[in-house]
């Protein structure tokens, strides 16, 4: 059992799942002020390319590249967020969709920098770099009884897991605070929120930029996990992938998009035959969700119910496990 679990294949799926969870949360942050942004795939690309180029050309350490990539995406989020603020609802969605496409076209055409559609290869790989570092320090994966590639994927998975836990913790705390209340007040009634003293410009741009930052962050991690990126990775379909995490999982609570990303990454792996019909199924899911349960599978009531259920069970059995 344990031996099978340490299989890089599962760790790989798990790692993609974790990156998708970050993307799902990036969608959720922006949506929690009532803004639908379809530019997250574009911001993801910005983060990925920034970090990849910095680490390739200037040999920056990966963590530094990732952080700069995320921050750059976030700054761009502010630049885009400010002027698009006055656009609401569908207009914002369309402009952000267009913005994402423009970014992709720039990636394709700016060949001297991005190598165009051929893509950037030879991006330093998170796990392999880590392996190199620990080996220099005199550590061998064999000491843990692990193969090199087992160690690499284990490391990636654990790093991502820690990051995701931190991200969820961060935004959950933010949500249960003055900031979170301002976000949801804006989502529920922008004008009333403004009249209650909330600077809606600031908070909407904040949410937009946080979403962009998080997308860029996920993108940078993605780049260093695959070692290769191309403009096609950040096209319209990626934006739809991210959207559906929030649509299926829900955007009321942070667990919604996290669950959506988890479930939808697992689904094609568990049911391989589904892979061929994946987007058809996505399409149906989107329509059905909008009709039957627009708030997504996981809403506030579900979270409350789970909490009640688990605490009760905990009481009954003495311990949770």
């Amino acid at each position: 059992m344990l031996a099978e679990l340490i299989n890089p294949y599962y760790l790989q799926v798990g790692s993609f799942m974790l990156i998708n969870i970050i993307l799902g949360i990036s969608m959720y942050i922006t949506l929690s002020t009532g803004q639908l942004s379809l530019a997250n795939a574009g911001f993801m690309g910005i983060g990925a390319y920034t970090s990849a180029l910095l680490t390739i050309h200037f040999s920056l350490p990966i963590p530094v590249g990732v952080v700069i990539g995320a921050i750059f995406a976030g700054l761009l989020g502010i630049v885009v967020g400010l002027p698009t603020l006055r656009l609401k609802g569908v207009f914002l969605a369309i402009v952000t969709l267009g913005f994402g496409e423009v970014i992709r076209v720039i990636f394709v055409n700016w060949e001297s920098l991005t190598k165009g559609s051929v893509g950037l290869s030879g991006i330093p790989h998170m796990g392999r770099e880590l392996l190199k570092t620990v080996k220099e320090l005199g550590f061998e994966p064999k000491m843990l009884g692990l193969q090199n590639n087992q160690f690499i994927f284990m490391a990636i998975f654990l790093i991502l897991l820690v990051i995701v836990i931190f991200v969820i913790w961060f935004f959950k705390r933010q949500n249960d605070s003055r900031i979170g209340r301002a976000f949801s007040a804006i989502k529920l009634d922008e004008q009333a929120a403004e009249s209650m003293g909330i600077n809606i410009t600031y908070y909407k741009v904040l949410a937009f930029a946080q979403g962009a930052l998080l997308s860029g962050f996920a993108g940078a991690l993605f780049a260093h996990m695959l070692g290769y990126i191309s403009p096609a990775d950040f096209a319209y379909h990626k934006a739809i992938d991210i959207l559906i995490f929030a649509v299926l999982g829900g955007s009321e609570v942070i667990w919604g998009p996290a669950f959506g990303a988890f479930f939808l990454t697992l689904l094609p792996e568990v049911l391989r035959f589904i892979s061929e019909y994946r987007y058809m199924i996505y399409g149906v899911i989107i329509v059905v969700m909008m009709v039957v349960r627009p708030q997504g599978l996981i809403d506030l009531n579900v979270v409350k119910w789970i909490k009640r259920k688990t605490t009760r069970r905990g009481l009954k059995n003495g311990t949770g496990n």
């Binding site: 423009v102 394709v108 909008m290």
Partner: protein, 294 residues
Amino acid sequence: MLIEQLINGITLGSIYAIVALGFTLVFGVLGIVNMGHGEIFMFGAFIGVLVTTTFGLPLWLAFLAAIIVTAFMGYLLERFALRPLRNHQGSNHLAPLISTIGVSIFLENLSHHLFGPGNHPFRTPFAEMSIEIGSVTVYLVQIVIFVISLILMAALSFWLGKTKAGKALRAVAENLETASLLGVDTKKYITLTVILASAMGGIAGILVGMAFNAVTPQMGLSMGLKGLAIIILGGMGNVKGAMVGGLILGLAETFIVVYGDSGYRDAIAFIAIIVILLVRPQGLFGQKTSDVRR
């Protein structure tokens, strides 16, 4: 060369305009951006291929079949992806947008399975007919496309402005509740609108198939996104704006190839909407109301 490029641009622009008219009609009446429109257009093109190339039937039958099929698809779209949302209490304004995105993804991938991913040629003798004016060859299809786009625009303007049904539609557009209080059967008119817009998409599909001899499942997405850009350019819900916006985009895309870098051709539409939304959010022809930025 300039004249030929002008013809190219106008042909492309007219096609964009017809696609955009479908968007604009739905937005004008329902206040909804129908993201599935591009895919309905693509299905229209495939029906054209099936009727003319696969079954070898005459062209007029292809038009008829495409109109019927796409109109029916429009009905289904309204019935299953839009109507249930209207009945929802407190459903937010983004729901129809997201729901039609679902429809669009579904239809695109359905067509992959039905027709295969490849390019389908559109063979009709009509597509080969051309006239020579000096050194310039003009295909009959190109003229027909331009004329049809004008006719559709004029018919739509007339229908919306002058006829009883059109007035009822505009009442629906003004305010759903008031319209139903005034005795307008809103459900009927909403369905009618989506059906009409979809049928126009079907016509556009066949015209594109004939003009470019290329029908693929991907064409819906790229056309749909352009159409979307155009209605923002021309002003949401504005018939004339859709026509002019379409022509502007068609010409701009053609002339960036002539004088600029063809690599940025696909980005023009989006750069244009980003600029227009920031500078003149109501669009080139839209009226300035506080409602525009709904």
